[in-house]
């Protein structure tokens, strides 16, 4: 190689490197404002994934993660052979599917009705009231649910007796087959108003000319709701729906933890609680981690499947 070009190249690359460091120095404040959080997210979001290795080990906390006994897929095999796992999986999917269906239809209907209201003051008051339960913790909500459903003087039992639907108070919290319904209804009570915000905003964004034009064409109120308002929120709805499908399996456990009791565990135990019980309370970290991995893998698969279906149907992608 010609020595001249070599030295030119070298000079150019040092020049480039210098320019990089010069610019980095110029942007030092930006680095100071971001690097601490980059380190933070690395530790708190990426390092736990490294902890997935424990699922393939027989993890004992006293040794480092690299000095453990490797057991291959033994934890997963044990998991898939455990009968309890299938009960837990059934509970998780049942409650998440119910939550998904009710959790989308009810807020949409609520938003649709709010959108049709004319009295501004009443409308705003109802909205403000409906947001309230969203801000209250599940601990409080669980307490309210227990109170409302109690057998001595719970409002729901009293109302049902007053309406002559039942003549004996129902022991709601002791009946396993009612548990899924109770969780779903509590959830919708808590989040209906909040989840309607986004649909109301989408409805507010619909071009008013569409409504005017349809009035001229003689369309009534229900036709407008069906042909203009609902299609107007379709994109918002689909995006949120597909994102929720990804969460089908990781529905959290707060509700089930707080509303469940020993009488209904066969219906209330969900994957996260199962992982909590084995992983932390019994100290079987590896087994608990295996449950967590199953959870993550299924949710990622679900997102891609849902997105794939949506892509095929609507010719556009959400993620």
């Amino acid at each position: 190689m010609n020595p001249l070009t070599e030295s030119t190249l070298k000079a150019e690359s040092t020049h480039k490197r210098n320019r990089f460091w010069f610019k980095a120095f110029q942007q030092r404040y930006l680095y100071m404002m971001s690097l601490p959080f980059v380190i933070w997210i690395f530790i708190f979001s990426y390092v736990p994934v490294w902890g997935w290795l424990t699922a393939f080990q027989n993890y004992k906390p006293k040794d480092s993660i690299l000095d453990q006994k490797w057991v291959g897929f033994a934890n997963f095999i044990e998991l898939f052979q455990d009968e309890r796992f299938y009960i837990v999986l059934r509970n998780t999917l049942a409650m998440s599917t119910m939550g998904l269906i009710v959790g989308f239809t009810v807020p949409v209907l609520f938003a649709l009705l709010l959108n049709e209201m004319k009295g501004q003051f009443f409308k705003r008051s109802v909205q403000t009231i409906s947001y309230l339960p969203h801000f209250v913790s599940w601990v409080v909500v669980a307490g309210l649910v227990y109170k409302m459903l109690s057998t001595d003087g719970g409002a729901v039992n009293q109302l049902l007796m007053w309406l002559n639907i039942i003549d004996q108070p129902i022991q709601f919290m002791a009946k396993g087959d009612l548990f899924w319904g109770i969780v779903t209804v509590s959830d919708i009570w808590k989040e209906m108003g909040w989840n309607s915000i986004i649909f109301l905003a989408a409805m507010a964004g619909i071009d008013p000319e569409l409504y005017e034009a349809s009035t001229v064409d003689g369309a009534g109120r229900f036709r407008k709701m069906w042909h203009i308002t609902l299609p107007g929120i379709r994109t918002t709805f689909m995006v949120l729906f597909i994102l929720s499908i990804g969460h089908l399996i990781s529905i959290g456990f707060e509700k089930q933890f707080l509303l469940g009791n020993p009488l209904v565990t066969d219906y209330s135990e969900v994957l996260d609680l199962y992982a909590l019980k084995y992983g932390i309370q019994m100290g079987r970290y590896s087994y608990g981690t295996a449950i967590g991995i199953f959870n993550s893998v299924v949710s990622i698969l679900l997102v891609f499947i849902a997105n794939g279906i949506y892509k095929r149907v609507a010719k556009e992608s959400v993620i």
Partner: protein, 297 residues
């Protein structure tokens, strides 16, 4: 002509239906709270008779006097207030700084940092690896476990960033020509302009901290000095549910005098009221913030 009249009647019936339905929604939402409020102010012996609705029959402050004597509750209240204030301040500061750097098109680290943050929205290590991490970091049994792992929410970073993207970039450029450095631009120009979105984010973070109980349950259940309000309420709730005893000896004594039911209701009110005082005033902000976040996603 007849058709028009009929349509109006149909419309009116529908309007009436909406009003009735909305009134029922309002009642169904408010009644449980009012019921609890009434019981918390009612004499606990009288409460056992049942039939209380939304106003106390025999007014008393004794339930509240009793719970304010619980040591666990006072400590919990203090800790919850501290973590809410500190956690919100730290959370807003962290998210806005990170969002600003990611919004700068000329920033070298913007590309890879964005990817690093965005990826975390699709997976999580899970409960157990997270627990083990806290163990390695020595955070179990400390107060910091409330603040450090929850420092940043990627979602909040992206919401603020999309808000900053909506601001005219010329503002930053002219400040730069005037000799302002990046920190000054952030502090003097970006932060004041971001007030609406920061108010929303602050509300979300504050509510999250105020309502959090599971981290206390998982990491601080053996450290009464680090207890939180929601965790104390959860203990009372579960103890009256399963019949086991609430551990605070102070509380056990008091519960013998005032019924656990009344105690539970009074604590519920104490836990709930601060939030109710705050959120209606921030409503216009969070409605905007919600839509902003969703549109961007």
């Amino acid at each position: 002509m007849q058709g028009v009249v009929q349509k109006n009647i149909g419309d009116k019936i529908f309007d009436l239906f909406i009003y009735i339905f909305m009134t029922m929604v309002a009642i169904a939402t408010l009644y449980p709270f009012l019921n609890v409020l009434a019981i918390s102010f009612n004499d606990s012996v009288d409460t056992v008779r049942g039939g209380l609705t939304i106003y106390p029959r025999e007014f008393t402050l004794r339930n509240y006097e009793t719970i304010f004597g619980f040591e666990g509750l006072i400590t919990g209240f203090r800790n919850t207030v501290i973590r809410t204030v500190a956690g919100t301040a730290m959370g807003v500061a962290a998210a806005s700084m990170m969002a600003y750097t990611l919004s700068r098109p000329d920033f070298q680290g913007r590309r890879w940092m964005s990817v690093l943050f965005a990826l975390t929205m699709y997976f999580s290590g899970g409960l157990i690896p997270g627990f083990l991490l806290m163990k390695y970091l020595g955070l179990i049994g400390t107060f910091s476990v409330y603040l450090i792992p929850a420092l940043l929410s990627v979602w909040n970073v992206f919401v603020i960033r999309s808000y900053i993207d909506g601001l005219p970039f010329a503002l930053q450029e002219s400040a730069k020509i005037d000799g302002a450095n990046d920190w000054t631009i952030f502090w003097r120009i970006i932060l004041p302009l971001c007030q609406p979105v920061l108010a929303t984010i602050a509300l979300f973070i504050a509510v999250g901290h105020w309502n959090s109980w599971f981290d206390t349950y998982l990491f601080n259940n053996r450290n009464p000095e680090n207890t939180t309000l929601q965790y104390e309420l959860m203990k009372v709730l579960l103890s009256t549910q399963t019949g086991s005893n609430y551990r605070d000896p102070n509380a056990q004594q008091a519960m013998a005098a005032v019924s656990p039911e009344s105690i539970k209701m009074a604590i519920t009110i104490v836990v709930t009221v601060p939030i109710l005082l705050v959120y209606p005033f921030l409503q216009k902000y969070f409605v905007k913030g919600m839509t902003l976040g969703a549109v961007k996603s």
